[in-house]
């Protein structure tokens, strides 16, 4: 599904390249649950953004379902990730001015899904996540765990093949965190590919495979 070959990314500071990612090679197959670990500044978020096509890289090849991402224009890329990828963030990143319902609905709007269909899809997912009662609340009226739940619901609404999660439990207490991780596991069992970035060994263990990053390189895999 994902094939990364010799991916490097750097910024030039004082004339010298400063590597954020250096010669990263990785393959992710459909149905995998991959955890990326590493200390702060090791480049794990950047790697996730590169995989999610939100960030660019300077060198290397990236194939997504055999399509050559590195040769695409921005518009093609965004069409691609719109179709296949859902994002989950540490800070949830819900739109404060929209209600729970509207937040979940927005990706469908951007994919030109018909209004009646949207209603059905949003109702489905609200039901599944048990947040029907919260649908008219604004994000600020929810607890962190609930907000992240909405964030995941929003990521899933367009039925992506891949979920990218950047420290999804980083802002949550351990009980809430556990619930979210169980949800991911369940989703993975249903066939959704998941790549998560995390600090926590415990959360990383939910993944079927762990990549350890250090200073932009893959240190080891387990």
């Amino acid at each position: 599904m994902i094939e990364l070959k010799h991916i490097s990314k750097w910024v030039t500071i004082g004339g010298k390249p400063n590597f954020i990612l250096k010669d990263v090679n990785a393959t992710v197959n459909e149905g995998e649950f991959l955890s990326i670990m590493g200390p702060s500044g090791s480049g794990k978020s950047t790697l996730l953004n590169v995989i999610g096509m939100l960030d660019e890289f300077n060198e290397g090849e990236y194939r997504f379902f055999h399509e050559e991402v590195h040769k695409m224009k921005e518009k093609q890329r965004s069409n691609l990730y719109k179709q296949y990828i859902g994002f989950v963030f540490q800070a949830y990143h819900l739109i404060d001015e929209l209600t729970v319902y509207e937040n979940i609905e927005t990706p469908l709007i951007y994919q030109d899904v018909k209004s009646s269909e949207r209603k059905a899809m949003v109702a489905d997912i609200l039901d599944r996540f048990n947040i029907v009662g919260k649908k008219d609340l604004f994000p600020t009226q929810l607890s962190g765990g609930q907000q992240q739940l909405v964030g995941i619901a929003r990521a899933l609404i367009a039925r992506p093949k891949l979920i990218l999660a950047d420290e999804p439990t980083g802002n949550l207490n351990s009980k809430q965190g556990e619930e979210i991780m169980n949800l991911f596991k369940q989703l993975n069992d249903e066939g959704v590919t998941i790549i998560q970035v995390t600090h926590s060994e415990k959360n990383a263990a939910y993944g079927k495979r762990i990549i350890h990053l250090l200073d932009g390189r893959i240190e080891r895999e387990e």
Binding site: L54, D55, F89, H93, I95, D96, L98, E105, P107, Y110
Partner: protein
């Protein structure tokens, strides 16, 4: 999707009340100004369009040339024989109708006696040409019979109260009985003339009134408004080229125009609908406006709108930082750039829609103010034309798009990775453009301030410049010829009271126009040498010069002690120069001929401002030929300043005693004088108002922008304070950047304002030089206002406890 945009736009509006308020207020005030000006301009453009035939009606005008070919006089009226011959010589004329101002006519019905202005003699087919509604009487025949009169509802009420005026008689000039044959609806306010009463033109054919003969042969009485209806699409050049031959054919035997009259006098055609904005002849039915005024106000409207739009752009881009996260999220969950652009433009359209709705409310509230100021009767009804309605409906979309396009492009190009990770820093983003926008706003404001100051200076100059005569405590009464024989005793009676200083009769009074002129000649030996320049004529009596306290440069005034003074001339200094005499002394005793009277120059007076400061002082001659006595139109009475009411009572009792059947009505000369500059005065008020609005909106924008910029620098301020900076230093630091922008704006605005006002001043024969300090003053005003605005925010920030600001960061 659109619903979603509007929902979020609305919630954003509500959430950020401060900035939304500034945006909304600025746009509302800007749009209200625009709407007010639009109503004003639409009204200006609507003049005379109420006529069904508006596009095919033309007014015949006449101009006169000097011997050297220069146009000396241009009139919107022509002599009656033109009207007599035109329809036969030009078969393409479908209809012709004429109006003659009866000037001031005393009218009486029972005890009601008034000097009536706005009485016109009118052809019987008037209502065929002008679409004026006749309420009572038959429009086709009401003006047919001689000695018929039609009234407006208002004038009918004035004389007849609740009585039915039809078939009653009104006494005209204490001589004729006029029968009321109809009532018509007053000419609309957007007509170029407003007759209160219409007297049948056929009345003029009576020899006791004017005479058939005169209508056919009097080429000199150029006071007939003559309108013709031409076929649709007719090219008036066609008639224009045939006018000279027409003049030469009919004006034979007219001494003053010589053998080829078409060289000395010309006819012209004015489109009826052009009269109000384009006609500036020396004699108009009512004062007209000017197309330049329309342009000036249109540009002010656009300027104010621009300032309001700039506010929106500035505040939105500045505030975009706060929305960067939302933009990032939307992009990540699938929004494309164009969808975001659409969303943000939608927001500005929404706010503009709200603003325009509020502006309509404000328009209704402020329109009475504009009406008071312009003396017009404007109503919002003028906006109810499909073209206007369509543009008004479209305008929020256009204005919203203009104001929103830049912020939308700017914001939609944010990179999601950056905005979501919080790397996003407001500092540099769009800063130089924001600066340029602030400079634009303040340039416009400063230009408006300078404009206002120059207008007022010129106004002050015109009102305070020495006129060369005394205008104070001068009572002006319409003269009545019934006084002719008893005038000396009337005058003596008045002067017996010490509150009356002097009195004089004249054909025209200062503050009026000088339109009468005749041929002048000097003599070399016994042969007459014609004077090529026009010398304007004023008929006076013995007391004109002393009553008005006009300075004599040489010679003497007319005197009751000289029997020969009826063939003597007093000239002004300009006339002496125009004739070519060396100096005033040199002119005394010279032989001179004016009209057909030959005599000697007895006095020369200093130049004085008979007309307004718009006009140059022209050569003038003051005469008291016996034949000109019937030309007296005004009685000027100089009274003592300490007891005006007793002086007026004295004049009135003398008047009632000598001419009991004529109404006693008066004005003060200084009021007339103020009226000369009424239009400049109004312009000044409008400029001040709009300049204030412009600077208010600009300051609101600056307030929002500085509040925002400062909030972005809270941490810096905290650090500086911890390091020991004092409040003053911080305020200076924060204000400096903004004041620099205002200073740049000042430099840009100076040449523009100078150029514009220099052009404006060209309309005045007597004008101020624009002074350098006006520019400095305007810049200082703008700087002060900006300083107060910015420093209010800066002081707040500087006084804040650094511990707090550092912690929140």
């Amino acid at each position: 999707m659109i619903k979603n945009y509007f929902k979020i736009a609305w919630r954003n509006l509500i959430k950020h009340k401060g900035i939304s308020g500034i945006n909304l207020f600025g746009l509302t005030v800007g749009l209200t100004s625009c709407l007010l000006i639009t109503v004003y301009i639409l009204n200006e453009l609507s003049y005379d369009r109420y006529n069904k035939n508006a596009d095919n009606i033309y007014r015949v005008t006449r101009s006169f040339n000097n011997k050297d070919g220069v146009v000396s006089l241009n009139l919107s009226t022509v002599a009656p024989p033109f009207g007599y011959y035109l329809p036969t010589d030009f078969p393409e004329i479908q209809k012709m109708t004429r109006l003659l101002d009866a000037v001031i006519s005393p009218l009486r019905y029972k005890e009601k006696l008034f000097n009536e202005k706005g009485v016109f003699f009118a052809d019987e087919n008037l209502f065929d040409v002008f679409s004026v509604k006749v309420l009572k009487g038959n429009p086709a025949t009401a003006l047919k019979d001689p000695f018929s009169i039609m009234l407006t509802e208002e004038s009918a009420k004035k004389y007849f109260g609740e009585e039915d005026p039809m078939d009653k008689t009104i006494r005209y000039n204490n001589k004729f009985e006029l029968k009321v044959t109809g009532i018509y609806k007053a000419f609309p306010s957007n007509a170029h003339m407003h007759p209160n009463m219409l007297c049948s033109f056929n009345t003029l054919r009576d020899t006791a009134v004017y005479g058939e003969e005169n209508l056919r042969t009097n080429w000199g009485n150029n006071s007939f408004f003559t309108y013709i209806v031409l076929p649709k699409g007719y090219d008036i050049k066609n008639m224009g080229t045939r006018f000279p031959a027409f003049i030469d054919k009919h004006m034979t035997g007219q001494e003053y125009v010589g053998n080829q009259p078409s060289k000395m006098t010309k006819l012209g055609l004015q489109k009826l609908t052009d009269i109000h904005l384009y006609s500036h002849t020396d004699y108009e039915a009512e004062p007209n406006s000017d197309i330049s005024r329309v342009y000036i106000f249109a540009s002010i409207a656009l300027f104010i709108l621009l300032i309001a739009c700039i506010n929106y752009m500035n505040l939105s881009t500045a505030r975009s930082v706060l929305r960067a996260r939302e933009i990032g999220i939307r992009k990540v969950i699938g929004a494309e750039k164009k969808e975001l652009i659409f969303q943000f433009i939608g927001e500005s359209v929404l706010i503009t829609v709200v603003a325009i709705l509020l502006a309509f409310g404000l328009l209704a509230l402020t329109l009475p103010w504009l009406n008071k100021l312009t003396g017009q009767n404007l109503s919002t009804g003028i906006l109810l034309k499909w073209q206007v309605v369509v543009s008004l409906v479209l305008s929020p979309f256009i204005i919203g798009a203009i104001a929103g396009i830049y912020p939308a492009m700017f914001m939609s190009s944010f990179k999601p990775v950056k905005t979501l990770k919080g790397f996003f820093k407001a500092g540099g983003a769009g800063l130089s453009l924001r600066k340029a926008l602030v400079v634009t706003q303040f340039s416009i404001s400063i230009i408006l301030i300078i404009t206002t100051m120059v207008v007022y200076q010129q106004l002050h100059y015109m009102q305070k410049k020495s006129l060369g005569f005394e205008k104070d405590h001068m009572v002006i009464i319409p003269y009545n010829r019934a006084l002719n024989d008893k005038y000396e005793s009337f005058r003596t009676e008045m002067l017996a009271n010490s509150s009356i200083k002097d009195a004089t009769r004249t054909s025209r009074i200062p503050t009026g126009r000088l339109l009468d002129a005749s041929n002048a000649a000097t003599f070399s030996g016994d042969s007459a040498v014609p004077v090529n320049t026009d010398i304007k004529l004023v008929s006076v009596d013995y007391d004109f010069i002393p009553t008005y306290k006009i300075k004599l440069l040489a010679g003497r005034n007319y005197s009751r002690e000289y029997g020969t003074d009826t063939a003597s001339f007093v000239l002004n200094e300009s006339a002496i120069k125009a004739i070519g005499w060396k100096n005033p002394e040199n002119a005394i005793g010279k032989e001179f001929k004016y009209d057909d009277i030959r005599g000697h120059v007895i006095g020369v007076v200093d130049d004085f401002h008979f007309e307004s400061m718009h006009q140059k002082i022209v050569p003038m001659v003051f005469v008291m030929f016996p034949s000109r006595v019937s030309f007296f139109n005004n009685l000027s009475v100089k009274i003592a300043g300490n007891d005006v009411s007793s002086a007026l009572a004295t004049i009135e009792s003398a008047w009632k005693k000598f001419v009991p059947d004529t109404p006693f009505e008066y004005t003060f000369l200084d009021d007339n004088f103020d009226k000369l500059y009424e239009s400049e005065q109004k312009q000044g008020t409008l400029f001040t108002t709009f300049a204030c609005i412009a600077i208010l909106i600009a300051c609101l924008g600056l307030l929002g922008l500085s509040a925002f910029t400062i909030s972005q620098r809270i941490k810096e301020i905290g650090v500086r304070k911890v390091l020991g900076a004092n409040t003053g230093g911080i305020v200076a630091l924060l204000s400096k950047d903004f004041l620099k922008l205002v200073a740049i704006a000042a430099l840009i605005s100076f040449p523009v304002a100078w150029y514009a006002m220099n052009n404006w001043l060209k309309d005045f024969a007597y004008r101020i030089n624009i002074q350098w300090w006006i520019f400095i003053a305007a810049a200082v005003v703008a700087l002060l206002v900006a300083l107060i605005t910015v420093s209010s925010q800066a002081i707040k920030a500087a006084l804040a406890n650094p511990v707090k600001s550092l912690r929140t960061e």
